[in-house]
Symmetry: D2
Subunit: 331 residues, 4 copies
């Protein structure tokens, strides 16, 4: 088999990351870049020896084996459906869509076309989180009992973004819901959430929240907590703590350097890396490599469209719980 | 004024700690030890130059200025009421009682007698937790937004104890509820709790839980999470994390030594101190010193009977929420 | 046997520490306090129920079993000799004397009198250093190969003190030489030292140094490094690192609390404890307890007068090496 | 100016690293690969679109702007001289040569040809070490007083390698001597070294040492310590500690992940990265980028051939000191 050939939708910040990573694999090739911003598409295509195309042309090209969907969220589902119909393997940024109904339509099309569809839950590929889960799987702490996920962004996105984001639970916490499912090894059966506005009261005016705490329970009684904030002045705070019958595994925040200053004031170390591009650089590369590997070798994908759907179900439940002040039963 | 003279009720494990601490203050004197276990009372009295007395005799002694109530929980309220009527200052181990009604009766008697009553929420006096709160108060991280309390015991107590403990929320989480109130600087207005049995299924048979997650919200939208387990195989896990507008303060677990071993396997440090007697040794001494200081100088107590009551209200709400699966509104 | 009864010489800062620790053992009693500063002696004696005496009277008292010598360095040897002749067990602050000749005279008197003589190398009783050595002894890192000792004071003592201190190697590094011998498990056979003035040029005017680096080798080729400074603006820096065939053991600096602040600048923890009274509080208590225990039970002392002598030999060699720029062969 | 075009000598492990890094810069091109192992040369050339050439052909090619010398140590000086005569900019792996005389000959040729020559002291480009030095330069700890360098390899190289390595001081410690000069900001004026065999007695049979401790002093009295071992069972131990008038800066060992396991035994974290390829991956890339940048922009090199010479002078002095047991005065 020759190299895996790609068309990429979206030439923005994340698109640039995926295209650059593709270029380091050797056994892949980027053929088309599609973006409504033609200038961005041209620049990215030029850098990676691809051509600027329309979505139709890219999907009609029989040389294209796979697509990367990194365009704006509202286009994901339609592009995935079209790619599925064209028989292309799909790597889709999260979320598939903000509407569960549309996600279901998309998944039906993908199932029907029997193409593999990967959802970009990059955190599963973070070296520390991946190592933590491997060690859970090896039984280092026995049966999982409680999972605690800290997930705090360094700063509030623009209000214009928040308005179309689907709300903090669908936009931000969805990653944490995926981590929770992945680490609990069992689906949550009940969920309660508080969402409040502590960072900026403008957030309430676009009917969103900037701070949240979620608790979940599984059928067997495992517990999970997620805490979120849109502002962590000290950088991107992404930590996991898993308590099992025989011990505790943590994964903390990596730092730019190991330098430590001791002076008359304190002993000070680096803040965590600033945000997702810094923190998850290795994860972005690893997730795309995992996708390529699974498609080339026809092995099961490590994250599927169904995982994307299930995380969205939890996000919707959290939004509902936060709105109503009541626990939500799942399934 | 001469030394502050004490009668002590309870000559068990915690009673021994308090009596020993009293002996180091210089300006205090232990006159009476009262315990249904006469042998324990005799041994403790002998060690500290006190005499064994009945509760009645001890409270009738006009030389007694203050009492320490460290007997079994079911005797706290009655002893506090009797001590209040006798005009003694009261240092009472938590909880005042497992029944809110009886707590209210007790508090009414104390208020009527106008005696000071301190409730032994020792954790407020832990050097790290106290330093954290001082730094909050100095504004180091701006306005408090979220509080996360990890509180995990090293091992399950005997089932016989659990049966009379009032349940995990009243027995164990009550400390965390006090910490939450103390750190949030605002009363919780809503609470949701999950309680499950993951450590030992026998716990369910005595109608209790061994694992729990609580979330709380205040009127202004501040959030708090508490996680509990009756088993942390690596020792007593007592950590606090406070997120504010300008940063984050953590207080971690102290360790017996600073020794670190690097070998072909890992880089390993000490586990946390084993349990409350080791971890909170300094806190037990500091809380009693604070009581003595406030009584001698007629200054306000840093922890009051009302704090004891409010923590119990939260514990009852948690028990109710865990039982019903619904959020509980407070006040 | 009744309680071990003490006379104490020296009512200064360290004397107060020892007297207070004695008071916590129960099975000991302080009978006499001797100090040229009668006011200090009176105050200390009063606090511990002892009486102020002359050295002669204290040593002539047949009820005195043991002495604590915590007076000024120039009196240690004479007092130890007199105590030995009076048949008292001796706990002597380091150094025995600044002159090796006088130390030898003292040790001869002690040997002749067959009384136990303990030298106060308190660091051996620091919980972290003691745990490190126990773990070495248990073979956790195999055979010891290299020892690295960091020993830095928070600030320069007064020049008046430096003038009579015997020089940095005898006054400060002598502790590190004792640690080196204790950890290497083998006597150094060769030593090289640099001593310079970096903190304050006035130190050079009293013919002393404020900064030093020492390296030592044993007959079997084990290596040891010591670094010293009279100024560590971040507190008392006392660390040990031992490299063995199978790994590395470190002991770091304990801190007042476990609090950590993350803000827009850095992640900051406490500085080390300020100086020896804070850092070695537990060690001072443990060393005196070990002395009492050995005297009462007639077991070998864990630190002997000979250990004091050997550390002084190394200090003299270091002073000579730093002065001459040449390595010194020992023994 | 077009891309900077390279010939590379040496297609071994480090050669492969440099060639791969070149390929990521964009503005560079690899034209020739030269190696006596034709198979290795062919494989590397193929991977990077270069051709296999003889040294003569590569240097005669007028399209070649610069050379990377990553062949065996004994060829460095001759290749550098030939490259200098051909007018090529030179990136040379350390050491330039094991003989100071030959280094001087080489430097004379380079000076005469007025070509830039960079010596690959990769550690200066390690993100943590580079950040530490920047912070020194910014005055965060005031004037530098003491530098402590820990430099320990994970395991002994083959004896066959040791025989031609020039000895531990020239082969291994030379990196630490460069770090020392770079951090002290002043040349050492006096040096003392112990070298012993603790890891493997076979090392003594090839007249080398596997363990060492060095101390150095500068004219102004600054001090530096280096400790080395050929075996650190817990991984590559590369740490720096700098003490200044106002504080201390440390740079520690990075780890593969941030995962921490707490169980009934201990709280365990990752060992350091295994060896130089893992630890200094970013440094290798950054040093080559710095070379390219300086050559392209005709700015001064951050590490020069003279730095290579001075580190060798210190290595020779250390070997002499360890052999004679005497301090060596420099300059």
């Amino acid at each position: 088999m020759g190299p895996l050939r790609f068309a990429q939708f979206g030439a923005g910040r994340i698109g640039a990351v995926h295209a650059a990573n593709l270029g380091t694999f050797g056994e892949t090739q980027l053929l088309h870049v599609v973006d409504v911003n033609v200038e961005a598409a041209r620049s990215l295509a030029l850098r990676h020896g691809a051509r600027v195309s329309s979505a139709e042309a890219a999907l009609a090209d029989p040389n294209v084996d796979a697509v990367i969907i990194a365009s704006s969220t509202d286009t994901h589902a339609d592009l995935a459906i079209a790619a599925a119909r064209a028989g292309k393997a799909i790597f889709c940024e999260k979320p598939i869509d903000l509407s569960l109904r549309r996600v279901d339509t998309c998944l039906a099309a993908v199932r029907k076309a029997r193409v593999p569809m990967f959802v970009g839950f990059n955190r599963r590929f973070d070296p520390s989180f991946a190592a933590l889960r491997d060690r859970l799987a090896r039984g280092e702490i026995g049966a999982v009992e409680q999972v605690i996920i800290t997930s705090r962004d360094p700063g509030l996105p623009p209000l214009a973004y928040l308005k179309v984001s689907g709300g903090k639970f669908r936009d931000m916490t969805i990653h944490d819901f995926d981590m929770a499912r992945w680490l609990l090894g069992e689906e949550p059966s009940e969920l309660f959430a508080f969402g409040t506005c502590l960072v900026d009261s403008e957030v309430a005016r676009v009917d969103d929240t900037d701070s949240a705490m979620v608790v979940m329970k599984t059928a067997s009684g495992k517990l999970c907590h997620i805490n979120n904030s849109r502002r962590a002045s000290y950088g991107y705070d992404q930590r996991i703590e898993v308590h099992g019958a025989k011990g505790r595994l943590l994964a903390g925040n990596p730092t730019p350097t190991t330098v430590e200053l001791a002076d008359a004031t304190a002993v000070a170390r680096d803040k965590p890396l600033h945000f997702f591009l810094e923190r998850y650089g290795a994860a972005y590369r690893a997730e795309l490599a995992a996708f390529v590997d699974a498609v080339v070798n026809r092995t099961p994908l490590p994250v599927t469209a169904d995982d994307g759907r299930r995380a969205l179900v939890l996000a919707e439940a959290a939004a509902k719980s936060a709105r109503t002040g009541r626990a939500v039963r799942l399934r």
